[in-house]
């Protein structure tokens, strides 16, 4: 009988501990552990979501950056082309202007040459007339004629040099 009572008391001790632990350990603490697990899980999910959003933003940003770079490259290329075109135009214009100036200079030179020739012609005529006058006025001998003609030729040469 005494041993039966001991069994009952021992079982009661176990049941008492079961009740105490059910209230504290298997109740509040286990619930807290579950809550913490749920919180950690939800936070991890939230982190995953944020990471995915960040990845998407990064991709968008990279695309945007690529587009901007592409546009910048296109604009630079356009500016370079424009510069080349303007340079070519300027060069062409300068060449045309130079050609025009050259042509005008050539024309002016030709005009001056023609003018000089006319002047030379007039002077030669005048000298010939003067020489003729002198020959007619001072016809002395053959030696004098020769000296006069040589002097005349020297004079003509001097005039030509002076015009040339």
């Amino acid at each position: 009988m005494e041993i039966l009572a001991q069994f009952v008391v021992n079982i009661l001790a176990f049941v008492l501990l079961l009740l105490i632990l059910k209230k504290f350990a298997w109740g509040s603490l286990l619930k807290l552990i579950d809550d913490r697990r749920a919180k950690i899980t939800s936070e991890f999910e939230s982190i995953e979501r944020t990471r995915a959003e960040l990845e998407k933003l990064k991709t968008d940003y990279q695309k945007h950056l690529d587009r901007i770079e592409e546009e910048a490259r296109a604009k630079i290329q356009q500016a370079v082309d424009e510069g080349r075109r303007v340079g070519a135009e300027v060069e062409e214009s300068a060449r045309a202007h130079a050609r025009e100036v050259l042509e005008k200079s050539k024309e002016a030179i030709a005009l001056e040459v023609a003018k000089a020739r006319l002047e030379l012609k007039d002077q030669v005529v005048d000298l010939a007339i003067q020489a003729t006058h002198k020959v007619l006025q001072q016809h002395l001998d053959e030696e004098t004629d020769r000296r006069m003609i040589e002097a005349f030729i020297k004079e003509i040469n001097a005039v030509e040099k002076g015009n040339g």
Binding site: E2, I3, Q6, F7, V9, N10, I11, A13, F14, L16, L17, L18, I20, L21, K22, K23, F24, A25, W26, G27, S28, L29, L30, L32, I33, D35, R36, K39
Partner: protein, 266 residues
């Protein structure tokens, strides 16, 4: 020490390290109080352990917070470990249902096993009354689970090895007897295993404490050598292993009584 020495002198009882009650009763005059303490020594220590374990757990759970303190963290480690053990075998749903029972069983047995190593206390599990009481709890839990799973008559049918033909029905009484004996033997084996191991462990410690105390007995000085210390570590390991074995086997007995579709699920 005198009690232990006396125990060695009287081999009818295994030697034990003296505890508070043996010391008190040693100086008490013969009477009903002394008899009561002697008789209910294990139960008293069991209630002391209930108070210690329950008190520690209540203290740990006094102010539960998401960011736990040291006590709460320790309690959570224990609870989570037990939850993983139980849910790992029984599955999440059944594991949660049986966790309070099996978890308490483990903590109670572990605390009682280790109590023998605390000066002044004693392992109540070193007595058959305690281990048999716990085994009875397991037995009722297992049978209740079986009746809930199969139904009362379904369980009887199951105990008859579920006969389906005349031969099976002819063998049904024999199978029923064998299965019933098997069901009874399970808790008995649980109780005997725990009792034998802890009693042996405490006896070993008691013997070496006595040997250590007797080393310098010739000098008449109150000194000795703690010869039992190397065995304390061994006793700690045995205490944990035995608590784990008792709980694990109880868990498996419960598992075998769960509905079959749940078995297939694991």
């Amino acid at each position: 020490m005198t009690e232990a020495h006396g125990a060695v002198a009287a081999p009818a009882h295994p030697p034990e390290i003296p505890n508070l009650i043996t010391l008190i009763t040693h100086w008490m005059p013969e009477g009903p109080a002394k008899h009561f303490l002697h008789t209910w020594e294990n139960a008293l220590f069991a209630f002391v352990i209930v108070g210690i374990v329950g008190g520690l757990m209540a203290l740990a759970a006094r102010r539960v917070a998401m960011r736990p303190g040291r006590g709460q963290m320790l309690a959570e480690i224990v609870i989570e470990g037990l939850e993983e053990l139980v849910c790992g075998v029984l599955g999440k749903e059944h594991g949660r249902r049986f966790l309070p029972f099996l978890g308490t069983l483990f903590l109670f047995i572990l605390a009682m096993n280790l109590a023998g190593l605390v000066p002044g206390l004693k392992s109540p599990t070193s007595r058959f009354e305690m281990t048999f009481s716990l085994a009875l709890c397991v037995f009722f839990c297992v049978q209740w689970t079986a009746i809930k799973s199969y139904g009362f008559f379904g369980y009887l049918y199951h105990l008859m090895n579920e006969p389906k033909d005349p031969v099976g029905w002819a063998l049904a009484p024999l199978m029923f007897f064998i299965e019933t004996v098997g069901e009874i033997v399970k808790p008995v084996s649980l109780a005997l295993r725990l009792f034998g191991n802890i009693m042996g462990e405490d006896t070993l410690l008691g013997v070496f404490v006595v040997l250590g105390a007797m080393t310098f007995a010739w000098s008449k000085l109150p000194i000795g050598i703690p010869l039992h210390l190397p065995f304390v570590l061994l006793a700690i390991i045995f205490s944990i292993v035995q608590a784990l074995v008792f709980t694990s086997l109880s868990m498996i007995y419960i598992y075998t009584k769960l509905p079959h579709e749940q078995h297939a699920g694991h």
